[in-house]
Symmetry: C2
Subunit: 265 residues, 2 copies
Amino acid sequence: MGGSFALALQATQIECEFVGLDHHNANQERALELGLVDRIGSFEEIQGCDLIVLAIPVDAIIATLQRFSQLKADQTIIDLGSTKEKIVTQTPPHLRSNLVAAHPMAGTEYSGPDAAIPDLYEDKVVVLCDIEQSGMLQKEKAKEIFQRLEMKIVYMDAHEHDRHAAYISHLPHVISFALANSVLGQEDRESILALAGGGFKSMSRIAKSSPKMWRDVFAQNRDNLLQSIASFEEELAILKSAVEEEDFDQVERLIAKANRLHKIL
Amino acid sequence: MGGSFALALQATQIECEFVGLDHHNANQERALELGLVDRIGSFEEIQGCDLIVLAIPVDAIIATLQRFSQLKADQTIIDLGSTKEKIVTQTPPHLRSNLVAAHPMAGTEYSGPDAAIPDLYEDKVVVLCDIEQSGMLQKEKAKEIFQRLEMKIVYMDAHEHDRHAAYISHLPHVISFALANSVLGQEDRESILALAGGGFKSMSRIAKSSPKMWRDVFAQNRDNLLQSIASFEEELAILKSAVEEEDFDQVERLIAKANRLHKIL
């Protein structure tokens, strides 16, 4: 997320120095090699930057915000975490106006510097949460940055964001992990996978996603996630019952209902 | 499936006339307009063709095979149905050697003549089932055709095919339909869908698929499908419990396990 962010900003000819920091040395070196950042900086140097972008797991965002001392009134922090409510409520009050809580609805199943691609954010939605708690300058700065990235800005309450993100992003990941594990659990999994076509590949693509990142997302958004899983389980049970009872008219109706998604999407 | 098949064969400069038949007049006309077929023929004319390709729902394949009278020894029928066991066991004995039961692991969420694309089959797997029951000439003909389409041929028992296809193709469709219905069932579904990113789009793409086609696949492969759904439900329950119990080390292990899929795939 961070590498793609840097590449996309560089492409807009923005005039600034990109300073990187990662807790893995290998990632830092690779980011330099790939030109994602101009140099690596210490925590103190990062803390002095005009714009600080936190592209790290959500629990690391919360922990990192605790480590920042008072920032200047014209410094901006943008966090790219996938859950927002705990981040905004746990941000130290003296930093709250510096922070813009953002969730770009973009990403791939890959992570790390080599996963950086320049057009990751283009034409995607970014949700800015509880924006009234950010400073005026920070609001404008974030707006300018996301417009540079050609993103569509949506404003939302952090609580509502987390409920919605559970359905649209976290639940699909849970499902993809469970689907992958269900096939891997079969005795003849290699023969099964030999038949994989586009449908299975679509449905299992995000099962490649980072364990560390997603454990944290699920931890942060546990209650909403459990609710979305329960709702999915109900829908699955309805379809399964129709198949069990050989009520294929009902199966056809349920599929036709699902088809309607794409009239909205 | 049929239109893409015709386009792909045409692209190989094969010398033959393409005669089409569809129970919807509009589809016939559109297939002509798009150049998928050279002309529309009657059922009797189709029955006289050297190669008859059945690209219709699985129950229609079974019904159509009942309507064929005795064919000549050098005629070949290839059916492209997504389930195979009922088709091979219900083929009239006098047609069995004419038939090659094939399942190309290819397709999109779209159907009808306008969904035809010339490279649908390229580099994909095609499963030929119970091939020892097909005639020698028919085996060779099918092999030649699928090689022309640059497909990877896999041979499999029809019974085994159906078990495997349940996991790799039919279950992912069930899941995608249930996911779509679960989001559509939410009160604020439009706000939720406004946040849709790549993950949700991947996971809901096949929820666009044809109700009629999939009702028949599920009907034909009911028992295997129910088994695969049960296995998926178990895996989902394991992941859900770990989230419920806040055992996020276990969540991380389950995700890491799912990641292994892509070492095989």
